[in-house]
């Protein structure tokens, strides 16, 4: 037992060290001025990893690293081995404005936050939605696009509108992609309200597969991938009414105020001069 206690305390100490690192990485924004060494350290790590020396975060000639999860067309996806899409193009435009080189780092969606908070990436851009809870941990830019959460059902489904999901005694099983807005809303609106069950899949394609095999009654997912899934799978259809609308924004580590301010300023200019809209129009063709 003594040995166990010793091991446990060792493990705890280790975890505290890790937490210390994590804690530093997300020092409160208000303390930003008080702790410049932290900022510098974090940015250095990112820059060193790229062999860019001691370039300041927004200095022209530096590298702007964007973390994303390239499984979310048309915002980010692979084409000819390159990550392309709305987010990629907007990020490129921002980098150009700042005189920096854009580098896109594709990773698991859950890893984006870790990459941003640890300084391995400068910003996260992956169709991310602003929520109260998230604002406690990260900063968001101005919103640059609006996403729609749609509902996919099999043809002939008893679910014909959003309201059917909330009807008295509905009790449907809803499939979502974990951590998406659809997941967060459905968890609150349906699971917590006792109106049904929410099954969380790691990928949108898995949720659609579950829908096809009858494991779930409908899938709530972003409208753009929803269109792609319905096109690829016969017998599925998208309901006319949207489940929810959301605003996409870029996320930054809280203490990285200098960078986030610069990026946000560049983004606002791009929105004002219509660049963002033209990129959106290029990828999203109106129905």
């Amino acid at each position: 037992m003594k040995k166990i206690a010793k091991l446990l305390s060792l493990a705890l100490a280790l975890c505290l060290c890790l937490a210390l690192f994590a804690g530093c990485g997300s020092a409160p924004a208000g303390e930003g001025d008080a702790a410049p060494p932290d900022d510098a350290a974090v940015t250095d790590t990112a820059a060193d990893a790229e062999g860019e020396g001691d370039a300041a975060p927004t200095e022209p000639g530096g590298t702007l690293i964007m973390a994303t999860n390239a499984e979310f067309p048309p915002y980010e996806f692979y084409e000819n081995g390159e990550v392309v899409g709305i987010d990629a193009e907007i990020a490129a435009a921002i980098a150009e404005k700042l005189g920096m080189t854009l580098e896109i780092s594709d990773m698991d969606f859950s890893a984006i936050i870790a990459a941003v908070q640890s300084g391995k990436a400068d910003m996260g851009m992956a169709g991310m939605t602003v929520t109260e809870d998230r604002l406690q941990s990260v900063d968001f830019s101005t919103s640059y696009a609006t996403g729609i959460q749609s509902i996919i059902v099999p043809e002939g489904s008893p679910i014909t509108s959003v309201d059917d999901l909330f009807a008295e005694g509905a009790n449907y099983t809803v499939g979502v992609q974990q951590d998406t807005t659809g997941d967060i809303y459905a968890t609150g609106d349906i699971a917590d309200a006792g109106l049904g069950t929410v099954e969380r899949y790691n990928k949108g394609a898995d949720a659609v597969q579950a829908l096809k095999t009858g494991k779930v009654d409908c899938v709530i997912i972003d409208n753009q991938p929803a269109k792609a899934y319905v096109a690829a799978n016969e017998g599925l259809t998208i309901l006319d009414t949207a489940y929810a609308e959301e605003d996409y924004a870029i996320c930054f580590a809280k203490e990285n105020t200098e960078l986030s301010a610069a990026v946000d300023a560049a983004l606002q200019e791009l929105i004002a001069d219509g660049t963002v809209q033209s990129i959106l129009d290029k990828y999203i063709v109106a129905d």
């Binding site: 859950s110 936050i113 998230r134 974990q178 997941d183 099954e199 494991k215």
Partner: protein, 246 residues
């Protein structure tokens, strides 16, 4: 001092956000832990049952290859041994994540119970590894033990049950303990079939709060505590069994 206080306050607010707020510890961590334990425990039971049966079939086949009468029984044994061989090859030759996807989407397409599918998938998967562990254990027992059992009048199965398997079990206990620890952590791939296990629970909190480390470190700590408990338990069991012989 001020820095330390700020840091502590920051940790505290992160902790509250990740675990306390919205009852997240209960909704994601505790519930996830429950699913993880449920899957691990039942998969271990299935794994041991399959493992022992397959190991006995395989070692019986190998041991009696040149002594048994040729006949109906031998033909059946050959067929069953062949099935076991195919089972071991397939299960050990493919990633468990692919296996669980196949069980979930194809074999049990009509079942919505991801935990049950997980139990079956992990149990069948673990059974293959346990089978080879047990087979090694059975083959390591001196042939004289087997002959002594048979000479007293025990039939093959009784000899296995009363004499060989208890000794083999003791010999393979460390390897078996290792397999259980691996299995416990492997259950985290159940997240792919919509099961909210401990790992997925932690990731959901990451997604909700955009706090990258606190939930994962919390989950890691829980895994660590369980594994340490298992190690302690196996160590104790091993010592007790060894003491018998000293």
């Amino acid at each position: 001092m001020v820095l330390l206080a700020t840091w502590l306050a920051n940790i505290q607010s992160q902790f509250i956000l990740c675990f306390i707020q919205d009852d997240r510890w209960k909704r994601y961590i505790l519930k996830g832990l429950g699913n993880t334990i449920k899957m691990a425990v039942f998969a271990v039971i299935i794994g041991i049952i399959i493992g022992i049966i397959v190991a006995i079939v395989r070692s019986t086949h190998d041991k009696t290859a040149d002594t048994a009468h040729k006949g109906f029984g031998r033909a059946i044994l050959n067929i069953v041994n062949g099935i076991c061989h195919v089972y071991l090859t397939i299960v050990r030759g493919t990633p468990v994540i692919v296996q669980i996807m196949i069980y979930y989407y194809l074999i049990f397409a009509s079942s919505n119970n991801g935990v049950l599918v997980g139990i079956i998938a992990f149990g069948i998967n673990s059974g293959a590894y346990v089978a080879e562990i047990f087979r090694a254990g059975i083959m390591s027992i001196d042939q004289g033990q087997f002959e002594a059992g048979r000479s007293l009048g025990f039939n093959y199965v009784q000899t296995m049950r009363h004499i060989i398997v208890p000794q083999a079990f003791k010999n393979v206990l460390p390897a078996l303990g290792n397999e259980f620890i691996v299995l416990l952590k492997e259950t985290s791939v159940a997240g792919y079939v919509a099961v909210m296990d401990l790992t997925k629970g932690a990731y959901i909190i990451v997604g909700r709060t955009y706090t990258a480390f606190m939930p994962l470190i919390g989950a890691a700590l829980i895994y660590l505590v369980i594994v340490m408990f298992l190690e302690w338990l196996f160590h104790k069991l091993e010592r007790r069994l060894r003491n018998d012989e000293r």
